[in-house]
């Protein structure tokens, strides 16, 4: 089935996507508009332009990932790229080669785009300064996960319309979450206000760093009350062993989202989660699988967002 290709907005003012913090609103909207077009095309089975044909995309994953890597690969293939995958285990990096040398060697093989995930904050910015390739961040330490932030924004926008003036609650481990950071930047730029809440040991110590549109709530009820969307973050089990959480039982008791608590949000408020879910800890299954949950839509939107980012940053415009 062939229909017309989705409308492709103009190019972005940014060359790389290390994070969402410095991305202007016009670029965010261009990415989201393009992603929306791709999403509709995918839903309708419309062929999308193969603007990555001949573009060499290398997925540099120095940290384990399943869903993000598969999502990026799917996006790349749908745009006509033949992605190459690099994982650090068994690679030259495991033999002691520096990150800079690894990246420059792969660049010399003809890479045009690096999609990079790394446990160290700042690696995408570092690679952008050390190579001539386009760099897209697929998660760097606790710093940012920009495509996750974008897919969350897209999902909210699909249901809520403009995010201007909307209230979003983010519950969980804010301090160590790159997903939370990217969401805080994107939602603020798009005009939403954000309330964060979680155990004191996992909240930002300097919330003023995120600007006036982000505030630490006074309680879970305060965070949830009147929210248009509620985002739960995955609680990592190692927070218990590192002394930041007493137990998952206590977390569920104090911070887990159930039906009663969800009633504090606006009727029909969206429930988001970046996954993977700890069912029965940060969210009960009834909510995760319920009518307000858009968790699986987030996953689908992830492909569209990654297509949009790659297309806008590296697509061959002559093919469009």
């Amino acid at each position: 089935m062939t229909k017309s290709a989705p409308g492709i907005p103009g190019s972005l003012s940014i060359r790389h996507l290390p994070g969402l913090r410095d991305v202007p609103k016009s670029d965010l909207e261009a990415i989201l508009d393009t992603a929306q077009s791709f999403r509709e095309a995918l839903d309708e089975g419309v062929a999308v332009p193969k603007t990555l044909t001949g573009v060499s995309v290398v997925n540099l994953f120095f940290e384990n990932s399943t869903r993000t890597r598969l999502s990026f690969e799917t996006a790349q293939k749908r745009l006509g790229a033949s992605p190459m995958n690099f994982t650090s285990s068994g690679s030259s990096a495991a033999k002691g080669e520096s990150l800079r040398d690894t990246a420059r060697n792969i660049e010399s093989l003809g890479a045009d785009v690096f999609v990079v995930r790394h446990s160290s904050a700042g690696v995408p910015a570092f690679l952008a300064s050390q190579t001539n390739t386009v760099v897209v961040n697929a998660g760097d330490g606790a710093c940012e996960h920009p495509t996750q932030g974008l897919l969350d924004a897209l999902t909210m926008r699909q249901h809520l319309g403009s995010l201007e003036g909307k209230k979003v609650a983010i519950i969980g481990d804010i301090r160590h979450s790159r997903v939370a950071r990217s969401n805080l930047w994107a939602l603020s730029t798009l005009g939403a206000t954000v309330r964060v809440w979680g155990p004191a040991t996992l909240l930002p110590r300097h919330p003023e760093a995120f600007g006036a549109q982000v505030r630490v709530a006074k309680s879970l009820d305060d965070a949830l009350e009147g929210s248009d969307a509620v985002m739960l973050l995955r609680i990592q089990h190692e927070r218990q062993s590192s002394g930041l959480l007493p137990s998952l039982r206590e977390y569920r008791h104090s911070f887990g989202l159930d039906r009663d608590r969800l009633r504090l949000a606006k009727p029909g408020a969206l429930v988001l989660h970046p996954g993977p879910i700890n069912r029965g800890v940060e969210i009960v299954s009834e909510i995760a699988d319920g009518p307000q949950s858009v968790i699986l839509e987030q996953v689908t939107n992830g492909v569209a967002v990654r297509m949009a980012v790659l297309h806008l940053l590296a697509g061959r415009k002559t093919n469009v």
Binding site: S98, R100, A121, G122, F126, R178, P204, H206
Partner: protein, 377 residues
């Protein structure tokens, strides 16, 4: 060109790579860098590989420095393998200018107490940055808004506060002479001020980079600005200046920490701490003073903070410029590059930045000498 002869500066905070990391800095290249920065004496930290924790190592370091145009006073490690007291009597006899605990306090408070007791008996000053090791563990930058935005683990000012809270009662009890290296926080300055008012035998220094910059410069992950202690907030920087002006902080140090390029140029959290600073310390301060990014400082104050006060910490007499000094052109603008620096390392935040004030010649034991050629460094 107006030439001026200033007394030789004295640095209380430099480290070289020799022995162990000569690719980063030898004693000869480090002292050549010191000379170009106007320093005629430097106290060298002992944390080399192997560490300078024996009289033989002290003799070796002094032998390597002999005959060069800058005096090197070795600090020896206060403990061996971070677990037992070093042989302080023998170290003092060999020429150690003091003993150092380095960048953090020992995890064992009883060991710290023993170090102070034994150093006092041997009339040795204990040099230490008063940082609680547990609170600083795994931190990378100052725990403040920048760390929050970048998702980097923070080292709180609280680590310095708790460190001083541990150290100062032990100083009070043992009467040990302690030099508090690289004070970095507002609360640190106020605690040092109170300790001095009480009459405790403490002195303190601050690195010139903590006077020039704060955490905001770390946006964008510039690894050359990754130093320890971390650059703190704007209010901390203001307090450091206030401490320097009221005498709570005695001296300015270079915090010269050479790191080989292949090690330094890495992802931010794996890049080691450290920046070279001996050659750019005074010219960077002068440039900032002229540019108005710091308050105007009289030349006499620079001399006090860079020469008189640090020499006093080391038990040296004040320097007579006619005997030991550097001829400067204080109006000369220059831009550091690998070709213009004597250090073997290039982890220099001022690289490519215009500085003010160039060393022209040395005065060494009353005789004027040309600066050694760079290729000899």
């Amino acid at each position: 060109m107006s030439e001026i002869l200033l007394p030789g500066f004295c640095d209380l905070g430099c480290a070289f790579g020799e022995p162990g990391s000569e690719q980063a800095e030898t004693i000869a290249s480090g002292l050549a860098a010191a000379t170009r920065g106007g320093f005629s004496v430097v106290a060298m930290e002992p944390f080399t590989e192997p560490a300078i924790d024996s009289d033989a190592q002290v003799h070796l370091v002094r032998h390597r420095a002999a005959g060069l145009h800058c005096d090197l006073l070795p600090l020896a490690a206060a403990t061996r393998d971070k677990g037992t007291l070093s042989e302080m009597a023998l170290l003092a006899q060999a020429g150690a200018a003091g003993v150092s605990l380095g960048d953090t306090l020992p995890r064992s408070t009883s060991l710290l107490r023993s170090v102070l007791e034994y150093a006092a008996q041997n009339d040795l000053t204990v040099f230490v940055h008063p940082c609680d090791p547990d609170l600083a563990a795994e931190g990378i930058v100052h725990e403040g808004p920048v760390a929050e935005r970048l998702g980097l683990r923070g080292i709180p000012s609280l680590a310095e506060e708790i460190g001083l809270g541990t150290l100062l009662p032990l100083v009070r009890r043992t009467k040990a002479r302690v030099h508090l290296s690289r004070i970095s926080s507002a609360v640190g300055v106020s605690l040092v001020r109170e300790a001095k008012l009480e009459g405790l035998p403490v002195t303190a220094d601050v690195s010139f980079r903590h006077l020039l910059a704060d955490e905001s410069i770390l946006e964008g992950f510039p690894e050359d600005w990754k130093v320890f202690p971390p650059l703190r907030g704007a209010t901390d920087r203001t307090a450091l200046w206030a401490g320097l002006r009221d005498g709570s902080i005695d001296a300015i140090c270079s915090l010269h920490r050479p790191v080989a390029a292949e090690v330094k140029s890495a992802e931010f959290d794996k890049s080691p701490y450290g920046a070279i600073g001996l050659e750019t310390c005074f010219p960077a301060l002068l440039a900032a003073s002229q540019a108005g990014t710091i308050q105007k400082v009289d030349l006499a104050d620079w001399v006090k903070w860079l020469s008189t006060a640090p020499r006093k910490v080391l038990g040296l007499d004040a320097c007579d410029a006619q005997h030991e000094g550097t001829w400067w052109d204080l109006a000369h603008k220059w831009t550091p590059s690998e070709a213009t620096l004597a250090s073997r390392s290039s982890n220099c935040p001022e690289m490519g930045v215009e500085l003010l004030g160039k060393a022209l010649r040395l005065r060494r034991r009353g005789t004027d000498l040309e600066l050694p050629a760079l290729e000899q460094a």
